[in-house]
């Protein structure tokens, strides 16, 4: 049965090539855009190395502080300070590991010179636990140790591109480079990490102990330039940790109530952070469900116009098919059978369009990667993106096929055979 449907569909597609082209163009273009968007979102939020243990990691990215003093009202939104993380996050009970490191968003890139060439790098000062929570892909050597951090040893882990900039094509392991007047020895080289992955991203990772500014150690302020990362023992512990962190925020002792007397924030995933910042400006609880709904809603809305276009095309092509419908009805085909057939045709068209869209997207994505707009961006079609694309294509086919098919199937056989359409 299906084979016959496919055969008919194929013949119909070939009969009027202009219409087939218009339909395919619409589907293909729409799906390309959707797949590029999906690849982008996956790159931003999906579990990609080095962040592979997403089901049991939480981060403290942002805090929001408020203070009321008489008439004055003070508030700030920013990263937590080292002091805060050390006191209230590192001491969380029943977690496997906690790491504290400088956040990317506040740092100005460091400039070094390699001969006459200028090398600009983003630095991240981290502790040793960082390397245990995140699984970096080490090409050479390995991470620095807790000992290095304590002793402020001048060692560094660098990414592949930085290795190339400093040392050319020769291995960097054990060699040294100059950074802000000091010489650091390379102990490890890792694959590039995209700038959009805020937690792991840097060009050069250095032990926290080597930071020139020691301010962070005794600043009493809760606003700072750090980020905390928590690894739970098992995924089931995640809600408990979130609870505990929220509870601690209410019990914080404020060193300077004039600056901060109320804190809000959360131990959360990056997606939860983004939804909190977008939906409530960082003040209230995060509602990742709403953001997810908004993204899906936007995608459906984007598909609406192309779908409408396809529905209109399909409707106006009813005439061509009216004699076929008449014959099939006269020979006893039910309306449902006909609806099934037309939907199958549409889904087939959508799948062909989807395949073309996939090819197009696989051409567009490397072009975006190579444009240099987003450093180390690596948008890729992986099986997740492919899966989403497939679902959208089928959805598209069914969505745009059902109404015209229903209209077609309702034709009276006698009228249809005479060539009338409405």
């Amino acid at each position: 049965m299906l084979k016959n449907y496919l055969k008919t569909a194929f013949k119909v597609f070939l009969r009027r090539k202009f219409f087939t082209f218009v339909s395919l163009f619409g589907i293909c273009f729409t799906l390309t855009v959707l797949m590029v968007v999906t690849a982008f979102l996956d790159h931003l939020f999906g579990p990609l190395p080095p962040e592979v243990k997403t089901d049991r990691t939480l981060a403290v990215f942002m805090l929001h502080g408020e203070a009321h003093q008489g008439e004055n009202f003070n508030m700030w939104t920013g990263g937590p300070s080292y002091t805060f993380l050390d006191r209230y996050v590192r001491t969380l009970p029943d977690v496997e590991r906690v790491s504290i490191f400088t956040s990317f968003t506040t740092s100005v890139p460091a400039v070094s010179f390699n001969g006459s060439e200028k090398v600009t790098s983003h630095l991240k000062y981290t502790d040793a636990a960082f390397w245990e929570i995140l699984e970096f892909d080490f090409l050479e050597g390995g991470p620095f140790s807790a000992q290095d951090d304590r002793d402020a040893n001048l060692v560094a882990v660098i990414n592949q591109s930085t290795e190339k900039r400093f040392f050319g094509d020769t291995p960097a392991l054990g060699r040294s480079f100059e950074l802000e007047g000091r010489w650091f020895r390379v102990v490890g080289v890792v694959a590039d990490v995209s700038i959009l992955r805020l937690t792991p991203f840097a060009d050069i990772w250095l032990p926290l102990g080597t930071s020139k500014s020691k301010e962070y150690l005794h600043s009493r302020d809760f606003q700072g330039r750090f980020q905390g990362l928590i690894l739970a023992r098992k995924a089931e512990d995640i809600p408990l940790i979130k609870e505990e962190f929220k509870r601690r925020l209410t019990q914080v002792e404020f060193p300077d109530p004039g600056l901060t007397s109320r804190l809000s924030g959360g131990a959360e995933t990056f997606f939860e952070l983004v939804s909190r910042m977008l939906l409530s400006n960082g003040l209230e609880d995060s509602h990742p469900g709403i953001l997810l709904g908004a993204i899906s809603g936007f995608m459906v809305l984007f598909m609406f116009l192309p779908t409408l276009n396809l529905v209109n095309l399909n409707l106006s092509r009813m005439e061509e098919r009216s004699s076929e419908i008449g014959v099939r009805k006269a020979f006893g085909a039910s309306s449902w059978t006909l609806v099934g057939q037309f939907v199958v045709e549409n889904v087939l068209l959508a799948l062909v369009g989807g395949a073309l869209g996939l090819v197009l997207a696989s051409l567009v994505l490397p072009a975006i990667n190579n444009s240099g707009l987003i450093p180390y961006a690596d948008f890729r079609l992986n099986y997740r993106v492919f899966g989403y694309g497939l679902i959208t294509a089928v959805f598209f086919g069914v969505f745009s096929g059902v109404y015209p098919a229903w209209r077609m199937s309702r034709l009276h056989p006698v009228e249809a055979l005479k060539g009338k359409t409405s």
């Binding site: 218009v22 100005v108 400039v111 020691k214 192309p306 209109n312 095309l313 106006s316 092509r317 409405s422």
Partner: protein, 393 residues
């Protein structure tokens, strides 16, 4: 004639209502893309008020904030910078006053009971005017003698001056508002033409400069002599590093700071434009297909009209007339929705003029697109021979 067209459209209301819905959606998409484009283009053409050519930033971060010797080191760094032959001018600056930097300090200001919200402010030292090439149109800029004043001087941009003081002379007037630091009052001493800190793509904003004492912040804006070769950077970094041994010293060209955000914004606009253009192309092709199909379905009707003496011109006018009518219905619906945007102030940053401009262009483009798609099918309709059409029955 129009009543007749309505009847023709009404006769095929089901199929036509879907077409009208499509035109409605296309209009809204086009309107959104064009408003965004018009908004960006208008902002881009506004004067920035400063020049970033040959301006570099120097960040000097001490090992210990608030340490006693910090001020002396910053002063040393400033003198070192000033002494370099490639340097034209040096000023202390804060993140909140630095163009293209994310830091933002906001406040409200009031004058005679009138309050203005959302004023960005930042502190700079006396030489900043020279570094950034600010254009003073009234009053004066900060000067060393301001140190001894009993109040705090401020320089505001022209837009803020107009919003706060109207046609009155702003000089010497006191503004209430931002937290006042050591002084009890802030007075306007000068007005500059503009200072759009967030750069070319940002909407109109208010700015207020406040005075920064030299040596208070370890951040400098440095104006180089035009034509300084790029090789100046390495020796300068080394010298500064040797002056402030355990400090963290970083240099950054302002153009580099501008570069990333600027390029991303441009890319975003380009993507929005390309997507909208492709959507319109798709709608156009679809419309062409539908109209074409409709003409071949209406062969009999048109043939009959020709047989009864209707001219080719009349037939053509009818086909295009129906199309224009449907477009008007779709666009009319779209306008009802579009008017809500300024009425409900959904997007407050886009002015009504910009929006109206977007609506106008969108209207012209939709009608143009629809008529273009109708041309070929309507020509086909005129070619229908009465004999051939009547022979159908």
């Amino acid at each position: 004639m129009i009543a007749h067209l309505f009847k023709m459209v009404w006769n095929r209301k089901r199929a036509n209502s879907l077409l009208i819905l499509e035109i409605f959606c296309a209009f809204l998409v086009l309107l959104a893309a064009l408003s965004l484009g018009a908004y960006s283009a208008l902002n881009y053409r506004q004067p920035l008020g400063f020049s970033i050519a040959d301006v570099w930033l120097v960040f000097a971060e001490p090992p210990e904030e608030g340490a006693a010797e910090n001020t002396a080191v910053i002063e040393q760094l400033r003198l070192t910078l000033k002494g370099r032959e490639e340097v034209e001018a040096v000023a202390n600056i804060e993140g909140c006053a630095t163009p293209y930097m994310d830091s933002y300090c906001g406040a409200s200001a009031s004058y005679l009971g009138k309050s203005i919200e959302g004023i960005a402010w930042g502190r700079v030292s006396d030489d900043f005017r020279e570094v950034a090439g600010l254009e003073l149109i009234q009053g004066r800029w900060f000067e060393p003698a301001d140190e001894a004043l009993g109040w705090e001087p401020a320089v505001i941009d022209q837009r803020l001056s107009r919003a706060l003081f109207g046609t009155e002379d702003p000089l010497g007037k006191e503004v209430g508002g931002p937290d006042r630091g050591d002084h009890t009052e802030i007075r306007v001493v000068g007005v500059i033409s503009a200072y759009r800190k967030r750069g070319e793509w940002s909407g109109p904003e208010y700015f207020m400069f406040r005075r920064l004492k030299e040596g208070e912040r370890g951040m400098f804006a440095v104006k180089l002599k035009p034509g300084t070769p790029a090789s100046f950077e390495e020796p300068l970094t080394k010298v500064l590093q040797s002056v402030a041994g355990d400090w963290s010293i970083q240099l950054l060209a302002l153009s580099e700071l501008r570069g990333t955000a600027f390029k991303l914004r441009l890319a975003l606009l380009a993507v929005a434009g390309i997507v909208a253009a492709f959507l319109m192309f798709m709608v156009g092709l679809g419309l062409l297909g539908v109209l074409w199909q409709n003409i071949s379905r209406r062969t009999r009707e048109i043939g009959l009209r020709r047989a009864l003496g209707g001219t080719a011109q009349a037939v053509r006018r009818q086909i295009l007339g129906e199309l224009v009518l449907m477009t008007t219905l779709g666009v009319g619906l779209g306008l009802v929705v579009a008017v809500q945007v300024p009425l409900l102030e959904v997007v407050s940053s886009v002015s009504v003029e910009v929006y109206a401009c977007g609506v106008g262009i969108a209207l012209a483009m939709i009608y143009g697109l629809v008529l273009l798609c109708g041309l070929y099918p309507s020509r086909l309709a005129t070619r229908i021979q009465p004999a051939e059409a009547l022979h159908y029955e």
